[in-house]
């Protein structure tokens, strides 16, 4: 099993036969709105899965409720389309009961951060072997256009005709605060980047949270346009790569720096400050820099939005710890003896 392409999947049976994206498509008609960002994500995931080199039948997609949560119906693996917000809980049960499965959670900003917020943070702190794909379109789509917990303050929607009063969550800040060991962000339309992040998530041992900026062309069209438009994206996006100086803009004209107060800021890179450009360390033990990076984007314009892996650290994995306690108990006390258990230590006999 050691020659697994992904050592993190060493307990999942390998598939020697070649697979293609086609193997992961189902016969079900995909029913998202034409133009939805979900199509691009689905295609990217389907064409990425063969890379894992594991048995298709040992892959499970679990989702909650919302547009994104229809995802499992379109993946020719095992799948559960569950109830609103609960996918991380259900997937936790499955992943901790079955270490031979690769378990993926598909969720949205409402599903994961509103009704299911509690399950998300606890899955992250436990570090269960789950890969959570959070499609963030900053709106409620399936219920037709109410503001979500990632919608900007003041957003005019059907339920907020005078503007939303809620300060939004920053999903990555939330995840880092919840002790997540792997936190990344990508964009629906950038397949290459999206798959690179999926790859990193699959390599990670424990819970991985991948936020995917996803366009809802019906209720919140163009929410991430500044990050996609050829004319603006170079200035707006910060592409993080571990071990590389964090520079962005045309020819890396701008960089991320740490100020005297410890805060991060962006500034043009000059000959004088070039040596001080922050080098990205996704594996830093402390979460402070990753947290600061998660908040460096301008909330209104989305300028200098980092994408890529913000944080990836090692911590014991919950399901492995659970399995190891079972093994320890069996080693110390022997396998369960039901007759002995039922009798206990204090019996008497009636003739």
């Amino acid at each position: 099993m050691s020659d697994h392409r992904f050592p993190s999947l060493r307990l999942v049976p390998k598939d020697e036969a070649p697979q293609s994206a086609r193997d992961f498509k189902t016969d079900q008609e995909v029913r998202w709105c034409p133009g939805c960002g979900d199509y691009a994500i689905l295609a990217a995931v389907q064409s990425f899965m063969p890379e894992l080199g594991i048995k298709r039948e040992n892959t499970v997609f679990v989702s909650g409720i919302g547009c994104s949560s229809r995802f499992p119906y379109y993946m020719n693996t095992y799948g559960v389309h569950s109830i609103h917000g609960r996918a991380p809980a259900i997937a936790t049960g499955l992943a901790t009961a079955r270490q031979d499965l690769s378990v993926w959670v598909v969720t949205g900003d409402g599903d994961a951060l509103s009704i299911g917020g509690n399950h998300l943070i606890h899955a992250l702190r436990r570090n269960v072997n789950l890969k959570i794909l959070l499609f963030n379109n900053r709106i409620y789509g399936l219920t037709k256009g109410q503001y979500s917990p990632t919608s900007e303050l003041g957003k005019i929607t059907k339920s907020t005709p005078m503007g939303s009063l809620d300060a939004p969550f920053n999903p990555l800040s939330l995840a880092i605060g919840a002790e997540a060991t792997f936190v990344a962000r990508t964009i629906d339309s950038d397949r290459q980047h999206l798959q690179s992040v999926l790859r990193a998530a699959a390599e990670h041992e424990g819970t991985a949270l991948v936020e995917i900026y996803q366009n809802c062309n019906i209720f919140n069209d163009g929410a991430f346009e500044v990050l996609k438009d050829a004319g603006t994206r170079e200035e707006a996006l910060i592409r993080l790569e571990h071990g590389r100086a964090i520079r962005f803009g045309a020819e890396g004209a701008n960089g991320v720096f740490r100020g005297a107060d410890g805060e991060l800021f962006t500034a043009p890179v000059t000959a004088a400050n070039e040596a001080e450009v922050l080098v990205h360390d996704a594996h830093a033990a402390g979460p402070a820099t990753a947290f600061a990076l998660s908040r460096i984007a301008d909330a209104d314009t989305l300028h200098h939005t980092p994408i890529g892996v913000l944080r990836s650290v090692e911590r014991p994995v919950y399901d492995e710890l659970m399995a190891s306690q079972l093994a320890t108990a069996a080693a110390h006390r022997g396998p369960g003896d039901l007759a002995g258990l039922l009798a206990g230590n204090d019996t008497w006999t009636v003739d």
């Binding site: 049976p13 079900q28 048995k55 298709r56 039948e57 040992n58 892959t59 499970v60 997609f61 679990v62 499992p72 119906y73 993946m75 020719n76 693996t77 095992y78 799948g79 559960v80 389309h81 569950s82 109830i83 609960r86 809980a89 259900i90 997937a91 936790t92 049960g93 499955l94 992943a95 901790t96 009961a97 079955r98 031979d100 499965l101 509690n118 399950h119 606890h122 659970m322 306690q325 079972l326 320890t328 108990a329 069996a330 110390h332 006390r333 022997g334 396998p335 369960g336 039901l338 007759a339 258990l341 039922l342 009798a343 206990g344 204090d346 019996t347 008497w348 006999t349 009636v350 003739d351």
Partner: protein
């Protein structure tokens, strides 16, 4: 002084024929051989007369921090190992340490033990051990005149008396003249016994419950070895405390033997139970063992997803101790995640279980509905407590029946199994697992606080007499074209195939959206939905359950008393009492509440009057009336405590009387 049996018969006679005249009829009993080896002095009976009793009800009462539950548990263990039949009723406040010396802070433990088969913890104690004025005041109304009261006089200070509103000292003002009062300075005696122990006064004082236990152990000839080993094991890391407790325990025993306050001791001979090997067991422990046994007998790994809640947490604690059986326990972030994890594990082929009480069931409702739709095996264990809302967390009630039956959106039928006694919780867990696995459905297991914490002797079953459960996993395609349809049903049970992730060729997606019959694909088709709703209902209605048995010895009874769950003990005791006095009454008890046994309608219709006692406002009666159009009459109580046998006997006599009156008109 008269014997205790005279006292108990005079007042409560809780259990019908249990109250039959025993050999302890007031005469000095025959000298019996010395009981257990004396812990620190001569054997009981060595110097004092011994009376033989057929049964005794003892209640230990004190502050929440006085260790009354532990004292009761130990006395129970001694009694079980001695071979008496027994039944217990712990009763404690929800607060961990309620304000000391107050009425709400009183914690008690009642134990009924006998030389014959008994069914309840008894209506009224023959003996009350009151560790302070609050314990006396809170429990005195339950005592029959003539009962023995042992009080810790050290706690009867002016301040303590005033705290609970005693205007004068009840120990001296004559208000207890109708009782046999034993005034014992338990604290002083304990401190005296431990003066060389090196313990601080405060620590030494805490052993006074063991002094009381020692005294009662002497009075009733309980074996003492078990308690001494228990104390040494419990305080293994604090040997000084262990020895102090043992010393206090022995001092209490010796005090009974030597002081003139206690003139006699009592013997209750072992009970003649059906042959077999026995142990004492509480409902929650029996239920935990039943779950482990169900895992073993089905070959499915047991997976518990749970969130702590009174009175169900003990099951989580117990199962977490048995990881060598491959049992996984997951303490979730909330009730919803607890059941979610259990359901996820079930999708992966585990025996998924969630344990909770009424408020937790409310939170789990949506996931139970999902399990109904996914048609996966899942056990939902509800240890009912007083409601609504937070209600009475430590008290018993049966008011979740309709929640279990109907508490979900849409048509979402769920089978319900309800054990009748603490030991029966073991069988009920196996039965619930059988139904869940065979029919691919969530199943409710309805226990309650009384069963959970109460205990009784249990004949330990042989492992190979336990039922086997065959999960019958899907192993290959179920269509001729090589396809796999996750909702293609077994025509006999209407169960769908359970195909586990990891099985090649059976990849499928299931969810809470309505599914097309057979393929399981999403379907909004009206006719298909109508069909699927009816099919899910028909699957539950078609579950095979044992017929309900009717106990009607003469066949002439006109009144039937029908119960479910933990009312079995008091109902049966009441029935015995009525019959002992010449009344005719038939009894039946339901273990399966959904579906009902097939013969239930015929049984109900064959009696002129049906009485349904419940610890709710008539939930089973409502179901019976709706389903069978019979005039079932409710008798209800929601006091957080089990019925008393005497109370139910009166109800049955009244029902018999009504019919007789009608005849004479």
């Amino acid at each position: 002084m008269t014997s205790q049996v005279d006292q108990s018969e005079a007042v409560d006679g809780s259990d019908g024929d249990e109250a039959r005249a025993g050999s302890g009829d007031g005469r000095p009993g025959p000298a019996v051989p010395a009981g257990p080896p004396a812990p620190g002095g001569p054997a009981p009976g060595g110097t004092k007369p011994i009376r033989r009793l057929d049964r005794v009800i003892i209640r230990f009462a004190g502050d929440s921090g006085d260790g009354m539950q532990l004292t009761g548990d130990r006395f129970t263990s001694e009694t079980a190992s001695f071979g008496n039949d027994l039944s217990t009723l712990p009763n404690f406040p929800a607060e961990i340490r309620a304000p000391a010396g107050t009425l709400p802070g009183v914690s008690s433990f009642q134990l009924h033990f006998a030389d014959h088969d008994i069914l309840t913890p008894g209506d009224a104690p023959n003996v009350l051990v009151a560790m302070n004025p609050a314990a006396l005041k809170a429990n005195l109304p339950d005592l029959p005149r003539g009962a023995e009261i042992i009080v810790n006089t050290d706690e009867f200070t002016k301040r303590a008396l005033a705290k609970v509103g005693y205007p004068a000292d009840p120990l001296t003002d004559g208000s207890l003249d109708g009782f046999h009062l034993h005034k014992v300075p338990l604290t002083t005696l304990t401190l005296e016994a431990l003066k060389d122990s090196g313990l601080a006064r405060k620590d030494a004082e805490r052993a006074k419950n063991m002094f009381a236990l020692g005294l009662l152990s002497w009075m009733y000839h309980r074996p003492t070895h078990g308690t001494e080993s228990f104390l040494r094991a419990k305080f293994a890391k604090k040997p000084q405390i262990a020895e102090a407790n043992v010393l206090a325990f022995r001092a209490g025993w010796n005090f009974g033997e030597t002081t003139e306050t206690f003139a006699v001791s009592y013997e209750v001979p072992p009970a003649k139970l059906p042959a077999g090997r026995y142990r004492n067991i509480s409902g929650n422990l029996a239920l935990s063992y039943g779950l482990i046994a169900a895992g073993q007998r089905s070959g499915l790994p047991l997976y518990l997803g749970s969130y702590p809640i009174t009175p169900a947490s003990d099951i989580l604690h117990e199962l977490s101790r048995h990881k060598n059986f491959g049992v996984r326990t997951f303490q979730a972030e909330d009730e919803i995640a607890g059941i979610g994890a259990a359901l996820g594990a079930a999708f992966g082929g585990a025996l998924g279980v969630t344990t909770t009480s009424g408020p937790g069931v409310a939170l789990k409702s949506e996931t139970i509905g999902l399990a109904v739709s996914l048609e996966l095996p899942l056990l939902v264990v509800d240890i009912q407590r007083g409601g609504p809302s937070t209600g009475l967390p430590t008290k018993t009630e049966q008011a979740d029946l309709l929640q279990a039956m109907f508490g979900r959106n849409g048509e979402a039928p769920v089978p319900i199994v309800a054990p009748a006694t603490p030991a029966e919780c073991f069988d009920a867990a196996l039965e619930a697992a059988r139904i869940a696995v065979t029919y691919r459905t969530p199943v409710f297991l309805l226990s309650d606080g009384y069963l959970a914490n109460g205990s009784e002797p249990w004949r330990i079953p042989e492992v190979d007499e336990l039922p086997e459960i065959d999960p019958q996993f899907a192993t290959g395609p179920n269509r001729e074209d090589g396809a796999f349809w996750p909702y293609l049903r077994d025509p006999r049970t209407l169960a769908r195939p359970w195909a586990l992730p990891g099985t090649p060729g059976l990849e499928h997606r299931i969810g809470g959206i309505e599914k097309q019959d057979g393929t399981g694909n999403i379907s909004y088709d009206p006719a298909n939905h109508d069909f699927m709703v009816r099919t899910r209902q028909a699957k539950i209605d078609g579950i095979t359950v044992k017929p309900v048995e009717v106990d009607d010895p003469t066949g002439d009874a006109r009144v039937l008393v029908l119960g479910w769950g933990s009312t079995y003990g008091p109902i049966t005791a009441a029935v015995r009492r009525v019959r002992a006095d010449g009344g005719e009454v038939a009894q039946a008890h339901l273990r399966n509440l959904n579906p009902f046994p097939a013969n239930l309608g015929a049984v109900l219709r064959s009696y002129e009057k049906v009485i349904v006692p419940e610890m709710n406002l008539g939930q089973l009666a409502l179901l019976l009336r709706a389903k069978y159009l019979v005039d079932a009459e409710s008798y209800n109580q929601v006091r957080g405590l089990p019925f008393k046998a005497a109370q139910l006997a009166d109800v049955l006599w009244a029902a018999i009387g009504t019919l007789d009156e009608e005849d004479h008109r």
